[in-house]
Symmetry: C2
Subunit: 196 residues, 2 copies
């Protein structure tokens, strides 16, 4: 017999499918199309496992991986907000809180509370685990932008200064990876993928 609890959990599982249709600005490395939120979440969750040794003291890389699996779920309702879109970022928090209410509300209350807390921890970047997760979420699009010769940067006239602000966040969550990203940005400017 299927319990009410399982029914709610599976309704959430089915709802998650929609994250596969939410597009980000980032291109795939072969430039064939924009990346979606579900595959992006997979990519950064993989990075948390593969790059665990660069996590700062006190961070739990496997917990960061789980955090990254869930970090964009609210975008099912709120949509993806391009990080260099200042206008879209002004009401992003309000839109995402409303989305979190509806989406996590599909789950049994204990799980809703737990996963909502996980997402809050991520958003607040108050713990080493959350800062490590955030660093990977910043690094992956920089890597894809470099691989696509400025695929997102060029059409949006993004400058090195803007990207270096994100690199600061990578440094805060994974110093060695921040240093790597900084080198990538410098090389991107030299190659003309990114405005100085």
């Amino acid at each position: 017999m299927t319990t009410d609890r399982l029914t709610r959990q599976l309704a959430f599982v089915l709802e998650l499918d929609k994250l596969k249709t939410i597009l980000r600005q980032t291109l795939l490395t072969d430039s064939s199309r924009q990346e979606n939120d579900a595959e992006h979440s997979w990519h950064v969750a993989m990075m948390a496992v593969l790059l665990a040794e660069y996590a700062p003291e006190g961070a739990d890389p496997l917990a960061a991986s789980r955090m990254l699996l869930f970090h964009d779920v609210v975008e099912i309702d709120a949509g993806d907000t391009f990080i260099h879109d200042d206008k879209g970022n002004a009401d992003k928090a309000a839109r995402e809180q409303e989305a979190a209410d509806r989406l996590y509300g599909l789950l049994p209350p204990d799980q809703a509370t737990e996963l909502r807390a996980l997402w809050d921890e991520y958003e607040e970047r108050a713990t080493p685990t959350a800062r490590f997760a955030d660093a990977l979420d910043r690094l992956q699009p920089i890597m894809n932008n470099f691989a696509t010769q400025g695929g997102t940067w060029k059409p949006h006239n993004v400058t090195a200064g803007k990207v270096l602000k994100l690199v600061e966040r990578i440094k805060a969550g994974a110093p060695a990876l921040g240093e790597y990203a900084e080198g990538l940005v410098e090389e991107a400017v030299r190659r003309g993928y990114l405005l100085p």
Copy 2:
């Protein structure tokens, strides 16, 4: 300074991007297109967290989640083999072993060994964790097929008997979810999504 170790790890991270272009037979729940391996891996890794309480004794759901993140990486080279394609399944193992050699060989040797062992554990289904992971990997396409009114089943004339064999594997790794899947298959036959 970027070490040789980090260079290898990041080369693997970039290579992973290709999994986003490997298509499976399963459709998204809105029937708009086929699902790719990266977003599928994300979906089942999420299920391991959300449905952890249905894991059998001795299984580690968070380890299963990590296992599911990696379970299809070999398909970057070997491609996806449709589960009801008997011909494709005949040489699947050999193609995937070769793929694992090349892909995990991009990583530093210690990580290559660790992640290869994780994939072997998954493939052999010899541990409760691996059987739980396998159960979720079987359940998700059944859920999507039901949601799309037989999206993959109908064009391939799949019968209930074939799907019920997969349900046995779900039961072996997560009995309550297997029972749920069995009910879904029966209902799918009643509705004409699946041949009796």
